[in-house]
C-alpha cells in the first residue's frame, strides 16, 4: 500500500510545488482523462478500488493478527497471520529435519552463486557457467540435500517439502527438459526420416496428454510395472514425468526459434565448411535460443506453477504443505490465510522470473 509512503515523502519547496502540481495535472489529463471513455474507465477503476481496497486493508493489515502462538491470539476479526508465522519453517522446508536445514540454505546460496554468471548479461564464458550450473551445482546440491555421504545425515526425499521442493522440481525439470527439448526440436527439423518421425511422435504424444494424467501414471502405474520389492523414489518418478512432459513443450518453443533464423545463416555456415553439429551449435542455436527467450521464460513460469500439481501424487510441495496445515485441528478455519500466503509466494517467484525475462528481451532487442 503506497499511501503511507506518499505521506512520508518530504514536501517539495513551494515554487517547485506549483510546477509539480501543473505537471501532475497535465500528466493526469494526458493519461487518465484524455477522452471521455478513458475518463469513464478511470472513474470506474477508482470506484472499484475504493470499494475493494479498504475492506481488504482492514482484513489483511489493520485488524490482522501476527503475534502469539495459538489460534486464541487471533481475536482481531481480521486475517490470522499467526497461523502462517508459526508454520513458516514448514512452508519453506517441509519436513526437512530442523538440524539439517542449513543444508537447504547452503544449496540456495550455491544456486545463486552458480546462477549469477549465467543470468548476468555480460559474461565472458557463459558456456562454461551454464555447464557448471547444470552439472557441478546439481551434484553438490544433491549431496547436500540427500546426504548420506561425508558424514551428512541422510534425508529421504519424502521429508523434502514446501517451497524448497517447488524450487528443486522446477530447477531439475528446466535443466532436464531444455536440452532434451533442443534435441527434439533439431530432430523434428532433421532430414533423416526416422529421427524426424521419432521426434514428432514423442512431442505429439506428450503434448497430447494432460500433465495430471502423466503424474498419475508416474505415481500409480509405474510401480505396478516394476518388479516386486524394487521401488523407485516418488520424487524421482514425478521428476522424470515432468521432464519428459515439459521437454515436448520446450521442443516446440525452440523450434519456433529455429524457424526464425534465416536459412542464409545455415547456408553460410555450410559454405564455411562447418559440419552439421558445429553449424547448429555455433551459428543456428545461439540465434534461435535468443529468439526463443520470451517463450522459454513463459514456459518456465508455467512450469514453476505446475510444480504444485505434484501434491496430488502425495508429494508435499508448498501448496501441499499449506493444505496439510489447514487440516490441523488446533488451527482449523484459516483456508483464506493459507491460500493467500501460497499465492503471494508463487506471485513473487513468478514475477521475478518474468521481470528477468523482460530485461533480457530488452537487452537482446538493443543488441540487434
Amino acid at each position: 500500500m503506497s499511501g503511507g509512503s506518499v505521506a512520508m515523502r518530504l514536501k517539495p519547496p513551494r515554487e517547485r510545488r506549483a510546477g509539480t502540481a501543473a505537471w501532475a495535472a497535465s500528466w493526469l489529463r494526458a493519461n487518465l482523462f484524455d477522452t471521455w471513455t478513458n475518463t469513464l474507465l478511470t472513474l470506474l477503476v477508482v470506484a472499484a478500488a475504493a470499494l475493494i481496497l479498504p475492506p481488504l486493508w482492514r482484513w489483511g493489515v489493520a485488524h490482522a493478527t501476527l503475534s502469539g502462538t495459538t489460534r486464541a491470539a487471533c481475536r482481531g476479526g481480521g486475517a490470522c497471520w499467526t497461523f502462517i508465522r508459526v508454520r513458516l519453517p514448514l512452508f519453506f522446508y517441509g519436513h526437512y529435519p530442523a538440524a539439517a536445514r542449513w543444508r537447504v540454505d547452503l544449496s540456495f546460496v550455491l544456486l545463486a552463486v552458480f546462477a549469477a554468471p549465467v543470468l548476468r548479461t555480460r559474461t565472458r564464458r557463459r558456456g562454461l557457467a551454464v555447464l557448471l550450473l547444470v552439472t557441478l551445482f546439481p551434484a553438490l546440491a544433491a549431496v547436500l540435500l540427500a546426504g548420506g555421504v561425508f558424514g551428512l545425515m541422510p534425508v529421504e526425499t519424502n521429508a523434502w517439502g514446501g517451497l524448497m521442493l517447488d524450487v528443486v522440481i522446477a530447477f531439475v525439470t528446466v535443466a532436464g527438459s531444455l536440452p532434451l527439448g533442443v534435441l527434439l526440436a533439431l530432430g523434428r527439423r532433421s532430414h533423416l526420416p526416422v529421427v524426424r518421425a521419432l521426434a514428432i511422435g514423442f512431442i505429439e504424444l506428450w503434448r497430447g496428454v494432460p500433465l495430471l494424467t502423466v503424474l498419475f501414471m508416474s505415481a500409480v502405474m509405474v510401480p505396478l510395472f516394476l518388479p516386486q520389492g524394487v521401488s523407485l523414489d516418488r520424487l524421482v518418478r514425478a521428476l522424470v514425468a515432468l521432464i519428459l512432459f515439459n521437454a515436448a513443450y520446450m521442443a516446440e518453443v525452440v523450434r519456433g526459434g529455429l524457424q526464425g533464423v534465416p536459412p542464409g545463416q545455415q547456408e553460410a555456415a555450410f559454405s564455411l565448411g562447418l559440419g552439421w553439429w558445429r553449424m547448429q551449435a555455433l551459428v543456428v542455436l545461439p540465434q534461435a535460443l535468443r529468439i526463443a527467450v520470451p517463450a522459454i521464460v513463459n514456459t518456465v513460469v508455467d512450469l514453476f506453477k505446475d510444480t504444485t500439481l505434484v501434491s496430488i501424487v502425495g508429494l508435499a510441495d508448498l501448496l501441499g504443505v499449506v493444505s496439510q496445515a489447514l487440516k490441523d485441528p488446533a488451527w482449523l478455519g484459516f483456508p483464506t490465510e493459507g491460500y493467500v500466503f501460497a499465492a503471494a509466494m508463487f506471485f513473487v517467484c513468478c514475477f521475478a522470473m518474468s521481470a528477468y525475462g523482460r530485461r533480457i528481451e530488452r537487452q537482446l532487442a538493443a543488441g540487434r
Binding site: V86, R87, P89, L90, G94, H95, E156, N158, F216, A219, V220, M221, P223, L224, F225, L226, P227, Q228, G229, S231, R234, S311, I312, V313, G314, A316, G320, S323, Q324, A325, L326, K327, D328, P329, A330, W331, L332, G333, P335
Partner: protein
C-alpha cells in the same frame, strides 16, 4: 511379465510357508510374512495415511504427524521394531491409495478408508480391523434444544451437494414423515460459514468431518452432536495386501492390543508400573509374562507393553484426536462393546 514374476514369487512364498509349516513339529501359526520381513530388514515401517484430515491424520505446527490412523501406524512400528518413530508416513490421495498399497510402496494403508465388499474381493485387499465407526452425523445449535434427530422436524440443515448426504435426509424424512429442510453448498468452507452465520440450524456430514466442522465455528461450545446417524454404518480401518495373512494378523492384533489395554485399564502413564509382576492372568498375558503371544505374531513378547507405554490405549488415543482434547466428538459407536459401542475384540486366551 511382471504378473509371472509376482506369481512365481507368490508360489515360492507359499512353498516356503508350507515347508516351514511341515518342518515345525508344533502346529504353530506360521509368522512367516514377506511384509514383516521387509519391515524388519528396512528398520522402518512405511505407512500410507491421508494427506491431511482432522482427527485421522494431520500434522501439528511442528510438522509431526498426529491422529487416530497415525497412532495405529506408530503402534505397528512399536510392536515390530521397538520404536514408535520408526515410521515413514506417505500421504496418499483417495485416487492412488489402493494402487500404492498393491504395488508394495507402502506396507499398510490406514487412511480413513471405508471397508467394502468390492475392496475386499475385487481389489484383493484384506480388512484387518475397524478403528473408526461412523455414519452421517448431525451437529446442531444447542439453543435449538433438540436432543434427537426426529425432533429436527422443520429445521434447516447445511449440506454439501453431490453426495448421498442429501438423499439420506430425504429418505429419512419420508420414513419418519417429517420435514428436515436442507440448504445446499458446493464447498465445505462455504457451508461452515453459512452455519456459523446462522443461515441454518445445523450441519451434516460423516462423523469425522462434522467434528472438524464444529471446531471451525466461532464458538464450538454452542454446537452439539445428535446421537443418531443415518445412511448406514461406515466402518473405516486399515487395509493390507491379500496373500500375507501373518502381516494382516499383526496389524489386526495391534489394534486389538490397544482395545485390550483400555479394557484392562492400562494407560500410558501406568503401563510400566502395572507390568511389574501382576497377579491378574489377563495382565500377565498382555505384558508377555505368560504365553508366547508376541512370538505367534512374529514379534517379541513385550510388543503390547510397548504399545501401551508409548501410544496408550484406544480410549486415550481417541480422546486426544477426536475426543475432548481434540475435535470434541463423543465416543458413540466407537465406545467399547460393554459401553454400548461397537469396538469389540476376541479373547486372548
Amino acid at each position: 511379465m511382471t504378473g509371472i514374476v509376482k506369481r512365481a514369487a507368490m508360489i515360492g512364498a507359499l512353498a516356503a510357508a508350507l515347508l516351514g509349516f511341515a518342518g515345525s513339529a508344533r502346529a504353530q501359526a506360521p509368522a512367516d510374512s514377506p511384509t514383516l520381513k521387509a519391515v524388519k530388514g528396512r528398520g522402518q515401517l512405511v505407512c500410507g495415511v491421508d494427506t491431511g484430515i482432522p482427527g485421522y491424520a494431520y500434522q501439528d505446527a511442528g510438522g509431526t504427524w498426529q491422529g487416530l490412523d497415525v497412532a495405529w501406524c506408530r503402534a505397528i512400528a512399536d510392536a515390530v521394531l521397538g520404536a514408535p518413530d520408526k515410521v515413514k508416513f506417505i500421504g496418499t490421495t483417495s485416487k492412488e491409495r489402493f494402487s500404492v498399497l498393491k504395488s508394495g510402496e507402502i506396507d499398510v494403508l490406514i487412511r480413513d478408508s471405508e471397508y467394502s465388499f468390492i475392496r475386499n474381493t475385487q481389489l484383493g485387499l484384506d480388512e484387518p480391523a475397524v478403528n473408526f465407526y461412523t455414519g452421517q452425523t448431525f451437529m446442531v445449535r444447542k439453543s435449538l434444544n433438540v436432543a434427537h434427530l426426529p425432533e429436527l422436524n422443520g429445521a434447516t440443515i447445511c449440506v454439501l451437494t453431490g453426495t448421498t448426504l442429501e438423499t439420506n435426509i430425504a429418505d429419512y424424512n419420508r420414513a419418519h414423515n417429517i420435514k428436515i429442510n436442507t440448504l445446499l453448498f458446493e464447498r465445505p468452507e462455504e457451508a461452515f460459514a453459512a452455519a456459523d452465520a446462522g443461515r441454518c440450524d445445523g450441519y451434516t456430514d460423516d462423523g469425522g468431518s462434522v467434528a472438524a466442522a464444529r471446531s471451525t465455528m466461532k464458538r464450538p461450545g454452542d454446537w452439539m452432536f445428535l446421537p443418531e446417524t443415518i445412511g448406514g454404518l461406515e466402518p473405516l480401518g486399515a487395509f493390507t495386501r491379500q496373500g500375507d495373512e501373518a502381516w494382516t494378523r499383526l496389524v489386526k492384533w495391534v489394534h486389538f492390543a490397544m482395545l485390550e489395554a483400555e479394557i484392562l485399564g492400562i494407560t500410558r502413564a501406568d503401563a510400566m508400573d502395572r507390568a511389574k509382576d501382576p497377579k491378574d492372568p489377563d495382565l500377565r498375558r498382555f505384558f508377555g509374562l505368560d504365553g508366547d503371544f508376541g512370538k505367534l505374531l512374529g514379534v517379541d513378547n513385550q510388543w503390547a507393553l510397548r504399545i501401551a507405554r508409548d501410544i496408550g490405549n484406544y480410549g486415550e488415543v481417541y480422546e486426544a484426536t477426536f475426543g475432548g482434547s481434540g475435535l470434541g466428538l463423543p465416543r458413540g459407536m466407537n465406545n467399547l462393546f460393554d459401553h454400548g459401542g461397537l469396538q469389540a475384540l476376541p479373547t486372548w486366551h
